[in-house]
């Protein structure tokens, strides 16, 4: 009896852990509402069209990804990663080249296409503000760094990633087209002036919590979080002045077991309709240039791709090359 049970358990375990067959593939993303939206907008229509089941996994973890590729035991087929990481991992040989005979890149925003990655969705760091909690909302990065005009705590993204350093330099008067290479010393000097007034957010939910409770009534946040916050009935103001864009990217890890299905998945995920559906659900912009036409103008208006007049592009290639060096300085400055 016991032996039978043990055999059954082993068999079940093997069935679960066996590499996925062509009728299923694994997609890893960051969890939360964004992945829910990706599942609804991309995975469901993909399964309907191809019959290939998409298993959701996550959260994306670059350490794990590297371990999988090194061990030759890859069990993610498509992974949602940050743009600068995609550029770096592609160069380090950890990603499969994308098959652009399957993925139609003619309709994709060229800012977010490389040999190894295409955009997933794109977001902006905007100046978000809880208008109920303050007399006036900061409009520019200079305002956000001006503690005399706008007293109180402000919140910024905690990790070393595109966004905060750019904002500091813009606030200090660096023209948008002269941002790169980043003058780190100048940025940290500017950040020093507000360091004691910063509360750091380490995840999107935390940024919303800080703004909503007025613990930090304003700060630099992902635009989608402001859309979500507005939907809860809080009176928020978003300033798109010099909004800093970066994009997530879809990549295929080297040695992915279902690379063929992965290419088909990416092709569908980046096509006009699914991109529009994701944008509608998340408040992040589509990277397919035809998607805007498919959305009602009211929704389209709130997305970063309509704010290009005052938009600043974070340079993903610069970040990819300098990730480690910037990171080291960043954490040293933070810990001081």
């Amino acid at each position: 009896m016991k032996t039978t049970f043990a055999f059954a358990a082993v068999a079940a375990f093997m069935a679960v852990s066996a590499p996925a067959h062509a009728d299923s593939m694994v997609f890893s993303s960051w969890g939360g509402t964004t992945q829910d939206a990706q599942k609804a907008a991309w995975a469901s229509p993909f399964t309907e069209k191809t019959g290939i089941t998409v298993v959701q996994d996550g959260p994306t973890d670059y350490g794990k990804l590297k371990a999988m590729v090194e061990a030759g035991e890859v069990n993610w087929d498509v992974v949602d990663v940050e743009g600068d990481y995609a550029a770096q991992a592609g160069k380090n040989g950890q990603l499969e080249k994308l098959d652009f005979s399957v993925i139609d890149k003619s309709k994709l925003d060229p800012r977010f296409v490389t040999d190894y990655s295409v955009g997933s969705f794109y977001y902006s760091f905007v100046i978000g503000c809880n208008a109920d909690a303050v007399k006036a909302c900061p409009k520019t990065w200079a305002d956000l760094f001006d503690t005399a005009k706008f007293p109180g705590k402000r919140t910024f993204y905690k990790w070393s990633a595109p966004g905060v350093i750019e904002a500091a330099l813009l606030a200090d008067g660096v023209p948008a087209d002269k941002l790169y290479p980043l003058d780190l010393d100048r940025a940290f000097k500017k950040l020093d002036t507000i360091k004691s007034d910063i509360i750091w957010w380490s995840g999107g939910a935390q940024s919303q919590q800080l703004l909503a409770s007025a613990e930090a009534p304003f700060g630099s946040v992902w635009n989608g979080r402001m859309t979500a916050l507005a939907a809860t009935g809080i009176k928020v103001e978003t300033s798109w002045e010099q909004n800093i864009t970066a994009a997530d990217a879809l990549v295929v890890p080297k040695g992915a077991p279902n690379a063929e299905a992965a290419m088909k998945f990416i092709a569908l995920a980046t096509s006009a309709e699914p991109q529009a559906a994701l944008a509608k659900a998340t408040g992040y912009a589509p990277i397919n240039i035809d998607s805007a036409k498919l959305m009602d103008p009211e929704t389209a208006k709130t997305l970063p791709d309509q704010q290009t007049a005052s938009q600043v592009n974070a340079d993903m290639n610069y970040w990819a090359e300098n990730r480690d060096a910037i990171g080291e300085k960043w954490y040293a400055w933070q810990a001081k």
């Binding site: 973890d61 670059y62 350490g63 590297k66 705590k153 905690k158 990790w159 070393s160 509360i199 750091w200 380490s202 935390q206 919590q209 409770s213 007025a214 613990e215 990730r323 480690d324 990171g327 954490y331 040293a332 933070q334 810990a335 001081k336």
Partner: protein
């Protein structure tokens, strides 16, 4: 010969269990330890001296940088604080549980365990909401007129200490309870009869007898605190970053496994040394058996 009665009530001899002897007997245990403990640590060690370039560069960088030294110092200071406060709060609680009527103490145990089993992230967020400047505690204190400016209770050392102490308390109360429960109340009576006052009863009888439990609990809390990640990350500011957060940065975000491995190995060595010290001084002191 040992016997037992089977279902029908017949007295049966206990089946003999042959004790595995010699080297063959310990092979499975050794293999287990090797696969699950030695191998990962060996790989960690190798990575830390081979990546990104072979040599001791990672360790030199860890020890040579003021930032990393500060993070090491933070880690030990926070863990020390949390351990001391947990002991100070946990001891009276464990003592009260040990002398309380059984029914009441089981209710309190249930509360303790329930809080332990509640999602860690949820508990940490709850503290964030309570402690922040616009939070319940500050609002209450200001409403009562005790303060006019909100206290900075979170995003700093205070927040980390409060949050981590709360989470660590069960880990010190449970071992302490076990030890105190075993102390024979008549030893205290005897001390009192011999003329010891309350203070002397506590410091000369109870505390020495409870020492192994305190040492075990304190070590557990200290070591767990050294490697704690979620709570310091959410309730702390960036000025008191702890080692676990640094390791996570190295491994997950910067994908620099050499440095991550070196930092993790330093943490492991410290932990094992502390354990060795504890074994040396308290290892064979067991109140039930001498």
């Amino acid at each position: 010969m040992s016997t037992y009665s089977d279902a029908s009530g017949a007295i049966m001899p206990l089946p003999k269990i042959r004790r595995a002897t010699g080297f063959g007997g310990v092979v499975p245990a050794l293999a287990f330890v090797g696969i699950f403990f030695v191998a990962p640590v060996a790989i960690l060690l190798l990575r830390s001296v081979l990546e990104p370039v072979p040599g001791l560069g990672n360790y030199a960088q860890l020890i040579g940088s003021a930032t990393y030294l500060k993070i090491f110092a933070n880690t030990f200071i926070v863990s020390g604080f949390v351990t001391a406060i947990s002991l100070a709060i946990g001891f009276p609680v464990a003592w009260a549980l040990a002398i309380m009527p059984g029914r009441l103490s089981s209710v309190i145990f249930a509360i303790l365990l329930l809080s332990m089993w509640t999602n860690l992230l949820a508990r940490t967020y709850a503290w964030m909401v309570l402690l922040q400047r616009t939070g319940l505690i500050n609002k209450m204190l200001m409403g009562m007129g005790l303060i006019d400016q909100p206290l900075a209770l979170v995003n700093n050392l205070t927040g980390v200490t409060i949050g981590m102490t709360y989470i660590m308390l069960p880990f010190i109360i449970l071992p302490l309870y076990g030890v105190i429960k075993k102390i024979d109340p008549s030893t205290l009576q005897a001390a009192a009869l011999c003329g010891a006052n309350r203070w002397q009863c506590l410091t000369r009888v109870l505390l020495p007898l409870a020492m192994p439990g305190m040492a075990a609990g304190a070590l557990m809390v200290f070591v767990m605190s050294l490697g704690y990640f979620v709570t310091p990350s959410l309730l702390g500011g960036t000025a008191n970053m702890m080692l676990a957060e640094l390791i996570a940065q190295f491994v997950q975000s910067l994908v620099n496994w050499g440095m991550g491995g070196a930092a993790a190995l330093v943490l492991l060595v410290v932990t094992l040394s502390l354990y060795a010290v504890q074994l040396r001084f308290f290892g064979n002191q067991n109140p039930g058996r001498r």
